[in-house]
Amino acid sequence: MSPVMNTLVFEDFKPGRLGSFGPRRVTREEILAFAAEFDPQPMHLDEEAASRSMLKGLSGSVWHLCSIIMRMMCDGFIGRTASLGSPGVNELRWLAPLRPGDELMLDVDVAEARVSRSRPATGIVTFRAVVNNAAGQALCEMVSPIIVRRRDEAAAEQAG
């Protein structure tokens, strides 16, 4: 596992704006496919039932939206980060439904970056991610930490 030269390490993440990622278009077909496999509630699968639901129209599973956010974060920066995984999600708020055809943009801030007490060769970077549709309406806000290797450790690995 030799990190490439531009791999982002813990020290690269400072509190503040990280960036905007996307757009990512979500099709009706993928909404139906995810719902059929993991969340087969009528509001995610059937137009008629969905029109009578609280969300008033076909909407994507919230777990689908979370998974899409994960992919947008991977494509945006985690894919080139010395990421060691995530212990969880502190808080997640679903603000508006995901609709077929939505073009999503993801805005990411670094909320906090601190060295891990239990694993001093790593740091914990907490991100605040907000996903918006093309109209600028926020669909979901997530606060989530990931564990990132520190620079010294990455350098030692490269040397070794």
Partner: protein, 160 residues
Amino acid sequence: MRFFEDIEVGQRRELGSFTFAAEGIKKFAAQFDPQRFHLDEEEGRKSLFGGLAASGWHVGSACMKLLVADGQRLAREAAARGEEIAIWGPSPGFRELRWIRPVLAGDTISFATEVLSLRSSSSRPEWGILEARNTGTNQRGELVFSVLATAFVPRRNSKS
């Protein structure tokens, strides 16, 4: 599915189990979470996870799948008794999602849900708000997943 009035704090339901095969782990990861430890056995072994590990979003989605299946089972039972079926609403979010231990290829996770709190919705009087702790436990009895999830649950005699 049950109505708000039929639910009590502390009620627990076993939701069944889900086995994470290597192929399924890689397929989900390739689509939503293409980090090396979710895609390749050798990379997984070298990672903090110690083996090919399922994306945390795959684990959460599997829990959702079993929650929906359990709700559909309850709905069929209610229909067989000639009772009215409660159709649950969407979730406004969750908090304290914890990926406590890795879910590795071949692991079978048993999921359960326990009602933590019930309150009325001030903005939507025909709905109640339920908070539940959903958990996943592996075949060795170790807790691997936990989340405090919120959902809108319909009240029995409110058709407004």
